[in-house]
């Protein structure tokens, strides 16, 4: 086995030597930390592992997803597994998109000072401040489009001096926009009809009668959709 190249990082102030070229999340696990929460898909999609770090010689706090960012020599880090941020209750089909509905549900957007700190914190390179501004003036489409890549990690809300809940706000905008403006996708309509006609009822009944071991075997033997192939 070739000798592994190690790099020194600091987790909550304590030094660790970890293999170079691995992600922050892998490095923390290598150092002995165990993620009970704050880790999910490990592929940069679920947004569970928002993290902050600082590099030696840089005054700035940097932001990333722990499962995506590689460790670097002298990196000081910790895990920010969760941003407490209340989400407004709403029923999509009861909302009137023509009204200032985003402002009604998230009035704190009127506290935005345009400091742009949210944008700088976004690991997905979203123009977060721009969509907050669009939300303030009721431009649902612009919020939905600008925020499309949001994975709800919550780092924007963690950093905001005005305590805005950006990621909940933009999720609401995307949902509402998709319901009110986007054409209904044909494949969804077809699948809903299929379900309504009971196309999978027999299969579901069968599974309900199976034992746990039989279910495990069924799962292990399942057919996985190939890339580019629609089921």
């Amino acid at each position: 086995m070739t000798e592994e190249k190690l790099t020194q990082i600091f987790v909550m102030g304590k030094a660790y030597d970890v293999p170079a070229g691995i992600t922050i999340m892998d490095a923390m696990e290598y150092a002995g930390y165990r993620f009970v929460r704050g880790a999910g898909c490990r592929s940069g999609f679920c947004g569970a592992c928002g993290t902050v770090y600082r590099k030696d010689g840089d005054y700035r706090l940097e932001f990333a997803l722990a499962c995506q960012e590689m460790v670097e020599e002298g990196m000081h880090l910790t895990q920010i597994p969760f941003t407490p941020a209340p989400r407004s209750d709403y029923q999509l089909n009861e909302l009137d998109a023509a009204e200032n509905v985003l402002l009604q549900h998230y009035p704190a957007i009127a506290r935005c000072v345009s400091c742009n700190t949210c944008t700088k914190a976004c690991p997905q390179d979203i123009e977060v401040m721009d969509y907050v501004q669009a939300a303030l003036r009721g431009d649902l489409k612009r919020v939905a489009e600008l925020s499309f890549d949001c994975i709800q990690c919550g780092l924007c809300a963690m950093r905001c001096p005005a305590d805005i809940k950006h990621y909940h706000l933009s999720q609401m905008a995307r949902r509402l926009y998709s319901v009110t403006e986007s054409p209904e996708p044909a494949h969804l309509t077809a699948r809903m009809a299929e379900l309504g006609d009971g196309a999978y009822d027999a299969e579901l009944d069968e599974m309900m009668s199976m034992t746990l071991d039989q279910l495990k075997q069924r799962y292990a033997e399942r057919v996985i959709e190939k890339e580019g192939e629609a089921l």
């Binding site: 200032n100 402002l103 009604q104 009035p107 704190a108 009127a110 506290r111």
Partner: protein, 132 residues
Amino acid sequence: MSKTKAVSAENLRARVEELSGENVFACYQCGMCAAGCPLADEMDRLPSQVIRDLQLEDITLLDSNAPWVCASCLACEVRCPKGVDLAKLMEALRQLHLRKELDHMSIDDMSHDEIRKLPQIALVASFRKKTG
């Protein structure tokens, strides 16, 4: 009021002058500001008394509603013969509270219906003046 205890009778005037950039002793109590203030009737002390209380470092000024009623309309500012910007003093008094997160209104208590009708400029202004 515990959070504003860093402000005392001894430093009230200094803090307000520092934040506002105004000299409260420039005022000679002519009362022009109070006479022209459209909202003075809602205040528990007149605008001119606010300045007097600052001159005298009356710490009870921190409990006055005057700074919260003042809407920075600047009727006083354009009429003051001594060039005192009372709106800046009022802003400084609000800031003494707001910088300690002592909000003067609750955003969470607003109903969707109330917000629906209001122009954005009302909300932005209100939150800037009354939340920290």
